[in-house]
Amino acid sequence: MSEKSLLQLLQSRFGNVVTGGDADAIDPWIQVEPQSLLNVCTYLRDDNKLRFDLLNCITGVDYFEPDAKKAAKSPWQPHTELVYHLSSIALKHTLVIKVVLPRWKNDQEGSLPEVDSVSSVWRTADWHEREVYDLSGIFFQGHPDLRRILCPEDWVGHPLRKDYQMPLEYHGIRGR
């Protein structure tokens, strides 16, 4: 199944849930509404023509420019993107799903944006979501055990956010 027909299929199936996409990009992608991510993913996995049985990777990308001067020139509004790379072992095709989230929930600094966990669809999402939560600061609703995974449990902040500041001190160890 070619990328274009795949995108069309999804757009026809889910309609306005799929809010965008680019079939001509290096890796063709579709953008999905955060609320219906779980539905789309379940469909992608279970549909006989798609069968995306393997979740390769989840990436959180923080679009934010801490430098105000540069921020004025940047082409996008600050936001956070979740990128899901999927592939099908059975049918040998791939797909990228993007979910756009606000940097902070309700624009309140410190409250993490929320999205449904897909760990019930692919169990590999369990650790990947923990990593994204840990490093990029995105809260996954319905995750069975959302703890930090790479940083210590009492670490403050989410290092892969562009406005992250290394703490001055961590348990007596100099940070900066």
């Binding site: 390769n56 990777c57 590999t124 210590p152």
Partner: protein, 400 residues
Amino acid sequence: MATGFDSRVVEYDVRTDEMLVNMGPQHPSTHGVLRLVLRTDGEIVSEVTPHIGYLHRCAEKIGENLTPRQWIPYTDRMDYLAGMNMNLGWSLAVEKLMGLQLPDKARHLRVIIAELGRIASHLVGMGAYGLDLGTFSPFLYAFREREKILDLFEEVCGARLTYSYITPGGATADLPPGWIGRCEAFLNELVPIISDYHNLLTSNAIFIKRTCGIGVLSAEMAIDYGCSGPVLRGSGVDYDLRRDGEERYTEMYDGYSFEVIAERDGHYPKDHQYPKVPQDAVLGDCWHRFYVRMLEVMQAIDLLRQGFDRYSAATGDWGTPIKLTQKLPKGEAYLETEAPRGQMGFYLVSDGSSIPWRVRARSSSFCNLSVTHEICRGVPIADVPAIVGSLDIVMGEIDR
């Protein structure tokens, strides 16, 4: 008494207490700084909780501040047992973003280097697995052979562990004159030694007892957890990115003939000259994972031999590395390659400058390790190293 239980059914058991045991982060057989919290009842482990992150070096954060070529040494330090393959993965991902096409010679050079790296990595995997099962000698035998590969690598790039050899655009240097001959001689030496390893481990009665039917990972579960590489193929899934991956990667292997090492109808490809699959072995157990690795060494030798001729015959350049401050096109690219430990993916987002906006490394061992708690449930303590060892993890890659 809870409802649904029949009060007449009573099981007799010795009353014992549960104990929480920390295996690691300093433990001889956790392959680095992995910490497993075991909930044990006597010798039986009822629950394993892996804790990782002790080797976290913020590689992705560093990558947001370096140009792609500058970040190559950091990829070396991810899977430090297969640095060449890490370099290759990252280079291909950058090339994918830039749309670079490589000359034929560079392609064959990369195949040779990648497969040699695979042999080196699997040799360590094999030796360390022997160590996990309590036999020391295979480890040193494996290192003896690996040293020779490292010698070859040293000739190529001057380093023995962190090579930074393959770069976006090709490699930092061509293979030195006469290197192919030396490599070929080494392979001729290695082939009979491999059958020694089979005698020492694969077909050893105690080894079979310790690995067959232990840590069985079903194909469904392996895919569900995103396992890849020998762990996935050991479960009988016929999937190898060198054949099934993206075109940008598979075209590297164009014209090479190889069969994916996965069991079909109780047989592995070309397995007549190796030990038979033991009766007790269950598809997806530790033995199969180990066996797949051993066969992949032979497969790599075969690929190398094909590569030598092609490389010698190939025309063109061995590649020109991109400039250190090469501007990247705006966009994003994700590419997975078949590293020795599984599918190693690199993802980079570029905003048009020479430094990527976001760099991501999808680690194969990370996913392979995440299955631990499933397959270590209810096994004796001694099997925990056996199972974790059979996943052949490298903490540098997991923690990044």
